[in-house]
């Protein structure tokens, strides 16, 4: 078992390298200059020379400088690969020398990123700051994780505790109307796009909307929440969370309910259940004490696997309900080619997922003695 764990841990390394390298290359080689675009976006009509200088400064600070190593050393000034390039639309690459340069810069840049990251320096976000002014990507993510994690945890708990009874009832009444109806209803839930659900909920159930104006519209806290007592604060936060959590929950229900149903059915057909029934045990004990416990196992494993997803928020829910979570952060970072943030998030997510995958497998092995890993 120990060798197995070690082997898995070692195998993680090439995967992590692969993930981060791929992401880094794609972001570095993308056409367009995000820094200049950001500056121009923020300052309107600006002197171009000044903007170029500033962009260069920021690039240097973030380690995004292009190296002309290949062009100078390999291709040399007289080579035909150095033809005067025509200004091309994407502006990214003109000649073979430029391509080589860009790739070399990207690879070298990756190496430097790894080096800096090993010392704990995750770089700087181009676009974002935390409320205390830090540009550290870890701090940025950390600032938003509590919000996202809270919502996701509530949603996961809801999914779990709703899916089990539904799956259970469907399995017990297999083939009858409850089974068929619930199956269809779950599938119908799954088929509703989050955009639609969020919009309709907000528009019809939110304050100032078209229907019952009950639910809060934006954010997770009311204005002036600092003055609340602990109880009021909790109630207020929960009340604000209702609509977003509903949006996050309804989709996951279908999958888990079906899994629970299938798992329970399999167990109910198993020999040990038949034996238990033959022994004369009451049906409820057979189902709840024996079959259910065993059928929970795959469900739990699945839930464990979804834990890393807790830190990745849903950009749709966050935009519609104006919640400052990690989903919005990451999508905006991707759009702005915010390298440090994208890399930090990729690394974090990748490591977490792999670790939890391992934990999930170990859990499965611990729970089911038939499973053996060599």
């Amino acid at each position: 078992m120990k060798t197995y764990i070690l082997k898995r841990l070692l195998l993680m390394i090439p995967t992590i390298v692969g993930i981060t390298l791929l992401t880094y290359l794609i972001v570095r080689l993308a056409p367009g200059d995000p820094i200049e675009a950001m500056i121009r976006n923020q300052s309107g009509n600006i002197d171009p020379k000044a903007m170029k200088e500033d962009a260069q400064k920021i690039r240097e600070r973030l380690g995004l400088v292009d190296y002309h190593v290949v062009r100078d050393r390999v291709f040399g000034p007289e080579s035909r690969w150095q033809e005067k390039p025509e200004l091309k639309p994407s502006g990214a690459v003109f000649t073979a020398a430029d391509v080589a340069d860009k790739v070399t810069s990207a690879v070298v840049g990756y190496g430097r990123w790894v080096g800096r990251m090993a010392t704990g320096d995750f770089g700087e976000s181009i676009k974002y700051r935390t409320s205390s002014g830090s540009r550290n990507p870890l701090a940025l993510i950390a600032e938003r994780i509590p919000v996202t994690a809270t919502l996701n945890l509530i949603a996961e708990a809801l999914i779990f505790f709703t899916a089990i009874p539904v799956g259970l009832a469907a399995a017990r009444h297999q083939g009858k109307w409850f089974d068929r109806t619930s199956s269809f209803v779950m599938l119908a839930f799954w088929s509703v796009p989050t955009v639609l659900a969020g919009t309709v909920l907000l528009g019809f159930l939110g304050k100032g909307g078209l229907g019952w104006n009950g639910f809060p519209i934006a954010g997770l806290h009311s204005f002036g929440y600092e003055k609340f007592s602990w109880g009021e604060y909790l109630a207020d936060t929960l009340w604000h969370s209702v609509l977003p959590v509903v949006c996050l929950t309804y989709g996951g229900l279908a999958y888990l309910a079906k899994l629970g149903r299938a798992s329970l059915l399999e167990n109910l057909r198993a020999d040990y259940v038949r034996t238990a029934r033959a022994k004369g045990l009451p049906e409820s004990r057979v189902v709840y004490h024996h079959a259910l416990r065993n059928s929970l196992l795959p469900m739990i494993t699945v839930m464990v696997l979804t834990l890393p997803g807790l830190i990745g928020g849903s950009v749709i829910v966050e935009t519609i309900f104006s919640i400052q979570g990690t989903g919005l952060l990451l999508v905006n970072a991707a759009e702005a080619y915010d390298l440090a943030l994208i890399m930090t998030e990729t690394l974090l997510y990748g490591v977490l997922t792999l670790v939890f995958l391992l934990i999930g497998d170990l859990l499965y092995a611990w729970a089911d003695p038939r499973v053996r890993y060599e």
């Binding site: 195998l11 090439p14 995967t15 692969g18 993930i19 791929l22 992401t23 794609i26 972001v27 080689l29 993308a30 056409p31 367009g32 639309p89 994407s90 599938l187 119908a188 799954w190 088929s191 509703v192 796009p193 989050t194 955009v195 639609l196 919009t199 309709v200 528009g203 019809f204 909307g209 078209l210 990745g312 950009v315 749709i316 935009t319 990451l330 999508v331 991707a334 759009e335 080619y337 994208i342 998030e345 990729t346 997510y349 990748g350 997922t353 792999l354």
Partner: protein, 399 residues
């Protein structure tokens, strides 16, 4: 090849049926599957025949005693190619019957042969079309000049194909006889947008899933059959794609694609290239199971080359779960498109775009309602079908 001993058996059991036929038989008996297939077919047909259902170019136009069929000049090459594919697919049973005798004598599947023949015809005709024909694109003035014609057969809903200054007057109209699903902010017919949006959805669904299925099948079989280093390496590659959040990856790759590429195909390519890991794992598991089956050992003993082993024996037997995954994948691809449209990354007219446009104005319910309903029904139907196929494959659930 029938011996006297075998005859009584086959007389009792009837002709042996292929795996595909068994699965199809099971599907036929499930109403959810049949209804889903019918709806899918209907949507595809409607999307393909969109110019005949809603548009500005008449099907038949008689002026000064001369009759013409303008719509056929305006149909794009892509539309012809799609219609051709439909017709050829529909004619498959005929060809299957024709080639059955010859194919079975050689031991090949008549279905595969028929598909190959049709595919060949399709490619040749499609290439010819694309190379030789340029569709008419100029403004036809047909709607304005309707009075001048002696007879004009317009599509079911005569409405401009694209909004212009004149359409603006009709903006935000609720559903009516002229516009069954109402009009949008620019006075454009919503039904038309739904039909053409269906094309985008289907293209993204089928082509993207096609790409990811191909990649997944190939890599999965290689991984599952050869094991060891091959498996190790490809598995790492799969993990990479699995663990980068798909949306983030899509956004970044979309940015890298040169701007000369049509945005629709960029989106399709990107969804396809990032979504193969599910298929990969399924295929790998199947190959792990199949490689130790008796018929594989027998084929290997016979000295068949590896590629033939894989291509003709292993892969076809492992495809069933892939089909399930692919069907769910199509539903998933439609969802991804909606998310991308929400982030303003999609430029082709699509359901996601319609939903995103209309969602902030809840009173014009026909805009977001139509888009939402279209997405919902499509995704639901593919999910139902996927489930039905999954049940059809499962021998324990045989009806």
């Amino acid at each position: 090849m029938s011996s006297p001993l075998a005859q009584p058996d086959s007389a009792l059991l009837g002709r042996p049926r292929s795996y595909g036929a068994i699965v199809w038989g099971q599907l036929r008996k499930r109403p959810s599957a049949m209804i889903s297939l019918a709806i899918i077919l209907l949507v595809a047909l409607a999307a393909m025949l969109a110019p005949f259902i809603a548009g500005e170019v008449p099907i038949r136009w008689v002026e000064n005693g001369k009759a013409s069929w303008p719509i056929f000049r305006y149909l794009t090459n892509a539309e012809y190619v799609a219609m051709l594919a439909f017709v050829l697919a529909g004619a498959l049973p005929l060809t299957v019957r024709l080639v059955r005798r010859r194919a079975e004598r050689v031991g090949a599947s008549p279905l595969m042969r028929a598909i190959a023949i049709h595919a060949g015809i399709w490619i040749v005709l499609a290439a010819g079309l694309l190379a030789l024909r340029e569709p008419e694109r100029r403004y036809g003035f047909y709607l304005e000049r309707a009075g001048e014609a002696q007879s004009a057969w317009f599509p079911l809903i005569p409405t401009p194909r694209y909004p212009g200054y004149e359409s603006l007057v009709h903006r935000d109209e609720p559903p009516s006889w002229q516009h069954p699903l109402g009009t949008g902010r620019l006075g454009d017919d919503i039904l038309l947008r739904i039909l053409y949006g269906g094309r985008t959805a289907l293209t993204i669904g089928f082509v993207a899933v096609g790409i990811s299925a191909c990649i997944g099948v190939v890599l999965g079989s290689l991984s599952g059959y050869f094991l060891r280093w091959v498996d190790l390496a490809i598995m790492r590659l799969a993990e990479i794609f699995m663990f980068i959040p798909q949306l983030v990856l899509i956004i970044i790759i979309l940015a890298v694609i040169p701007s000369s590429v049509d945005p629709l195909w960029a989106v399709v390519f990107v969804i396809g290239v990032t979504g193969w890991t599910g298929t990969y794992r399924l295929m790998r598991a199947e190959l792990l199971r199949i490689r130790s089956e008796d018929y594989m050992t027998a084929a290997r003993a016979l000295g068949l080359p590896t590629w033939r082993l894989l291509l003709r024996h292993a892969i076809p037997n492992g495809l069933a779960p892939i089909l399930v995954g692919a069907t769910f994948g199509i539903a998933g691809a439609v969802f991804i498109e909606v998310s991308l449209a929400f982030l303003n990354l999609v430029q082709t007219p699509s359901w996601g775009e319609l939903l995103t446009d209309g969602r902030q104005h809840l009173e014009t319910w026909w805009v977001w309602g139509s888009a939402g309903a279209a997405i919902f029904v499509t995704v639901l139907v593919y999910n139902l079908l996927g489930e039905a196929i999954r049940d059809a494959i499962d021998p324990k659930l045989k009806i």
